[in-house]
Each structure stands twice: as C-alpha cells, then as structure tokens.
C-alpha cells in the first residue's frame, strides 16, 4: 500500500484534534452567514415584488459570498502555512525531521497539503450557500465555477507565500508577520499602483500608447496579480455578455484578444506558487548558523 506523506498525516491529526480547527471553521461560517442574512434583509425590503427580484437577490448574494470568502481565504491560508515549518524550528523538532529520511520536498509538500486540506474544507463549506444564489437565478454555472477555481487558486498561492516565509525564518511569529505583510502589500499595493499610474498617464499620454499591444498586455498582467481585481473584472465581463475565456479589447485601429482576467490570474498564480514552492524546498535544510544560511537564502531567492 502506498503510504501517505508522514507530515501530512501528523499535521492533519493534530490540526483536526484540537478545538482550534472547529472554532476557526465556525467563525468563518458565522461571518459568511451573518453577511448573507444582513444582505438578504436589506435587499428584499427594497426590491419588493419586482419580476427580476429573484435574479437580483441571487446576484447580490453570490457576489457578497464570493467576496467575503475570498477575503477570508486570503487571510486564513497564509496563517495556516506560515506557522508550519517555522513552528517545527521553534519547537526544536525540525532537526529531527531533517535528519530523518524525509526529503525536503516531502516536508514542504506535507505542510502545504495539510494547510490546503483545511482551506479546501473552508471553500467546500461555502458551496451550498453559493448554490442557493444559483437557485435564485441571475448567476450562471460558469460564474460559480470560476469563483470556486479562483478561491482554490488563491488558497494555493497564499498558502505557498506563507510556506516560503516559514521555510526562510526561524520563528513562526516572524514568518506570519512577513506573510501577512506580503499579502497586504499585494492586495493594497497593486490597486495603489494602478491608481497612481492612471493618474500620471491620465490625459497627458497620447492614446496610441494606451492602445499599444504591450500596454494592454502589461496592464492586464498587473491587474491579474490581484485576485479581487481579476475576478471582479471577469464578473463584469460575464455580466456584459463577454466570453468566458477571452477578452477582446477594442482599440482605435485593431482588436486585441487577451485571456480573460481569471484565466491570467489562475496561470500566474500557479506559476508563482510553483516558484515559491521550489524556493521553500531549497530552504529546507538543517538549521545552521549565520553565514551559511544567508548564502543559501540568497541562492534560494535567486532561484525563486
């Protein structure tokens, strides 16, 4: 019989044993349910007996749930992984793992999957609520599926960000701080960058630059680094009757076809996740004093 990853077995055992997992899951669902109920109460009073009421309630429910779930995934997954490897170092169990026959890959993979298993549990828990929105109408199957893919991809990327810091640093507090810091920088930094750039470019730049192919690709690329922007843009495209996988950007002279933001986001996230995972594997080595470690970190960062 093929044995499961030992780290995965151990971490799931202890993660699911304590009350913590259930408390976290409960809080998560309570927040979702609370927001949904509030929203429903607010909308249903306004809309009255409109023929389209069901559709609009369905849409509002869907987008709210998806947004709240995305925020929660963004914050919870990096916390789940950032404590993982650094926690072993802190507990002085790390050397025992490294000195065993476990490979660095097994250690990193086990840590990632055990955190993702929990994140997937959180994501699965919202599927019934989303189906409810689906029943109200106004939301297509494609939207629901894209939302779920987006959530999963985000969970993977943000989990590997936490994992990377966890493999790099020796304290779980430090790793968690840096992971949260990275994520805040991403979530706030990218919109900030977009606003600044569009303010600067605003009116003073000739429109043929804005219409150039490379500018279109670059702007889509930057936007696709941000889950809320990418998924939000996809949603509005779909609502406007756009294609599920492609976006046609009309410029003065030609039409430029680019992948839909969610597709770009998914591809980019998976690439970055892979790089971060590879860097983490390289960092999993016995705890070593100053000089060596710094050298290795530099190497790993270059590799990543």
């Amino acid at each position: 019989m093929l044995e499961l990853n030992p780290i995965l077995v151990k971490d799931l055992r202890s993660r699911m044993r304590g009350a913590r997992a259930y408390i976290l899951l409960t809080i998560y669902l309570l927040i979702l349910a609370g927001v949904t109920l509030l929203l429903y109460a607010a909308i249903s009073r306004d809309i009255g007996s409109d023929l389209n009421a069901g559709r609009r309630i369905g849409q509002a429910l869907f987008f709210t749930i998806a947004t709240v779930a995305l925020i929660e995934v963004c914050l919870i997954t990096p916390v789940l992984t950032s404590g993982s490897i650094a926690g072993e170092k802190e507990r002085q169990t790390y050397d025992l793992l490294v000195a065993s026959l476990l490979t660095p890959w097994q250690i990193v993979w086990g840590k990632l999957v055990s955190a993702l298993a929990f994140a997937l549990l959180l994501i699965t828990a919202i599927v019934p609520v989303m189906s409810l929105a689906f029943l109200f109408g106004g939301v297509g199957l494609a939207e629901v599926l894209i939302a779920i893919v987006g959530l999963i991809v985000t969970a993977i990327l943000y989990a590997t960000i936490g994992l990377f810091w966890s493999a790099l640093l020796n304290s779980s507090l430090g790793a968690t701080s840096f992971a949260i810091g990275t994520i805040i920088a991403l979530l706030l930094g990218i919109p900030f960058l977009i606003v600044i750039v569009s303010l600067i470019l605003g009116s003073s730049v000739p429109s043929d630059l804005l219409d150039s192919v490379w500018f279109i690709y670059l702007s889509r690329f930057v936007a696709a680094l941000h889950p809320f922007i990418a998924l939000g843009a996809t949603a509005s495209q779909l609502a406007g009757g756009g294609d599920t996988f492609f976006e046609v950007v009309r410029t003065g002279s030609t039409n430029v076809v680019v992948p839909s933001p969610w597709v770009l986001y998914t591809v980019l996230s998976l690439i970055f996740s892979t790089l971060l995972l590879a860097a983490s594997v390289r960092l999993v080595q016995p705890v070593q004093p100053g000089a060596d470690r710094k050298k290795r970190v530099r190497k790993a960062v270059e590799a990543g």
Binding site: E3, E90, Q92, T93, S100, L101
Partner: protein
C-alpha cells in the same frame, strides 16, 4: 574491522571561531563511547556533523565507512540521533509520536505497529502509550526520544547529553537502558561534561577541549596511561615525624602532604606528634610498583608503624582535570 565512526582532520569553523580543529576520532563497533569535554568544546558540533545536520568546513567524517557529506541519506539510515534539546509535539500521543517517525523512516505499517509496542516496552513507557506526549515527565520524554531514535533500528546511536536534567534515579535507569541497547549490538556515542556520569557505563572515552581531541581510547587504557604518577596514602600509627623525614628526602616522592592540607602545600613545621593520634600522609610517588615495595620496606625498617599503605586510584575526574589543565 572498520570503526563505525571515523573522522579525519575534521574541522568546523563558525566564522572565525574554530569549533573543531583537525579532529581524528575512531569508535569501534559495539562500544559505548563517552565524549567528554567542557562547555563549548565541540561535542555537539561533532555530533551534528555525524548526523549530517552540519557540513564540516574541511576534513572527513564517516559512519560505517560511509561519508556523511557524500551519502547523507545512507548515513541517516545508520544513525539514530537524540539532540541535546529536542521538542515534542503537543496534541500527539506517545504512540503517534513514534508512529510519525516510523513513517518518516519509511517503515511499513505492520512492522511499525509491532515496533512501537516493543520500543515502548523497552523504555518502560508501555503504560503511557495513549497519553499525550506533553503530559510526560522530562525523564519519560527523554526515554520516548530514545525510543524514537531507535525506530529505524540504527547501528549507531548518538545521544547528546541525554542525562542532563534527569534526577539520580532517572540517570540510573538511563544507564541500564544503554547497557541493554549495547547488548542488542548497538554502538552508542554519548556526550557529557560530567565525567562521573559516563565513567561507569562507557567502554571507551574521548576527551575533547577547544575542538581538539586530548585523549581517546578504552577507559581502562586511559586510566592507566593518563595517570602520570600515583598518590600513595600512608596511615602512620607511630613514628610519623620520622616517616615524614624519610619521605621528604626520598628521590621518588615528588610531593608530600598531610591529609587535610591543600594540594601543593609542602609539609611545614612543627613535626608531627604521635600523641595527637594516627596521621595520614599523601605521597606523590613517581616510581614503579617495585620502588613502592621498597619504600614500604624502608619505612618499616626505620621503625615506622603503618596501619594503611595504599595507592589511591585516580578516577576519570582526576584525569579529566589533569588532561584539560591549563588549556582553558
């Protein structure tokens, strides 16, 4: 037979700090090797190199002929390690702790179950099988950790200060356990800075200081060769003054002192008085066994009445202090 542990000019630097300086060590298979040295001597550094946790700066280390740098995975299979500081997991039962490390060493499920039972029995923790690891006492955790190090049936056990923080009873239990392990054919390398802790259970010792091996070999051998000269204890019932005079002028007696006097202080006036009771003299004697016999004959011939005449057996502690003297 190749020694199970072999190092050649093993050197390790931390920045400019030389932690190991051309260490040449050999441990024969089946030995209990006591690795002794003061704090910061390089014991942990050596052990971490042997367990592949630390790369040497230069030189070579082999376990059962396998290089720790070239084939670390093979070495890991051969070595069971118990670090000086180790953690345990909360939220985990004793058997799960062993089960996890069994999995980490790729031991098949069925064998693992059987092993966990046997090892818990061996370290006397069978009754704690379903207890959380965190609830065990320090001595129990230490024993559980030893069972963990045994999970993959290593040929060499490397234990870094396993007895630190244990009470006397737990130490004795540990010692018994190590003897049992040795009987099972394991080679055990154990470090300590407390000599008496090792003296009784080791077959071999190595004394390290400042990264240099000062002495190594069989315990008896070390005891014999490292002692430069013997201390003879003489209890004089009558004729103490005469005995003192004879001993002080004897060519083989390097130093003479009265019992109770501090080492290094020569006998001072006034001479001993037999009225004040029997006196004990300690003579630092450089001669051999025959010369010692002659000395006793001389004293008796001179009318000194002796109730006790015996060589003091210096223990490892003395040797340790002697060998490491002056370097610190």
């Amino acid at each position: 037979m190749t020694p199970i542990v072999e190092t050649h000019d093993l050197t390790r630097r931390y920045g400019t700090n030389l932690a190991l300086d051309h260490l040449n060590l050999a441990i024969p298979e089946g030995a209990i090797f006591g690795f002794i040295g003061p704090n910061g001597a390089g014991k942990t550094t050596t052990m971490r190199i042997l367990t592949t946790l630390l790369p040497p700066t230069s030189g070579e280390a082999r376990v059962a002929g396998v290089s720790v740098t070239r084939e670390p995975r093979v070495v890991r299979r051969l070595v069971g390690f118990m670090p000086d500081f180790f953690g345990v997991y909360d939220n985990m039962k004793s058997w799960e702790y062993l089960d996890f490390f069994g999995r980490s060493y790729g031991i098949p499920a069925q064998r693992r179950q059987q092993l966990i039972g046997e090892l818990l029995e061996l370290v006397d923790l069978a009754h704690k099988r379903d207890e959380p690891v965190m609830s065990l006492s320090r001595g129990m955790k230490q024993r559980l950790s030893l069972a963990r190090a045994m999970m993959h049936d290593p040929r060499l056990l490397i234990l870094d200060e396993p007895a630190s923080g244990l009470d006397p009873r737990a130490r004795i239990e540990l010692r018994e356990l190590l003897k049992e392990l040795r009987a099972m054919g394991k080679t055990i390398m154990i470090s300590s800075h407390i000599l008496t802790e090792l003296a009784e259970m080791c077959t071999h010792i190595g004394i390290i200081e400042r990264g240099k091996l000062l002495a190594a070999g069989e315990v008896q051998e070390i005891l014999r060769t490292m002692r430069p000269h013997r201390i003879v204890e003489i209890r004089v019932v009558a004729g103490a003054a005469r005995a003192e005079e004879l001993l002080r002028t004897h060519p083989d007696v390097l130093e003479l002192r009265r019992e109770g006097a501090r080492a290094g202080t020569e006998v001072e006036e006034p001479p001993l008085d037999d009225e004040t009771g029997p006196h004990t003299l300690l003579a630092d004697f450089a001669g051999d066994e025959h010369a010692l016999g002659d000395l006793l004959a001389l004293l008796i011939a001179e009318g000194v009445r002796i109730s006790h005449f015996a060589e003091q057996f210096g223990d490892l502690e003395d040797i340790f202090l002697h060998v490491t003297k002056g370097i610190v």
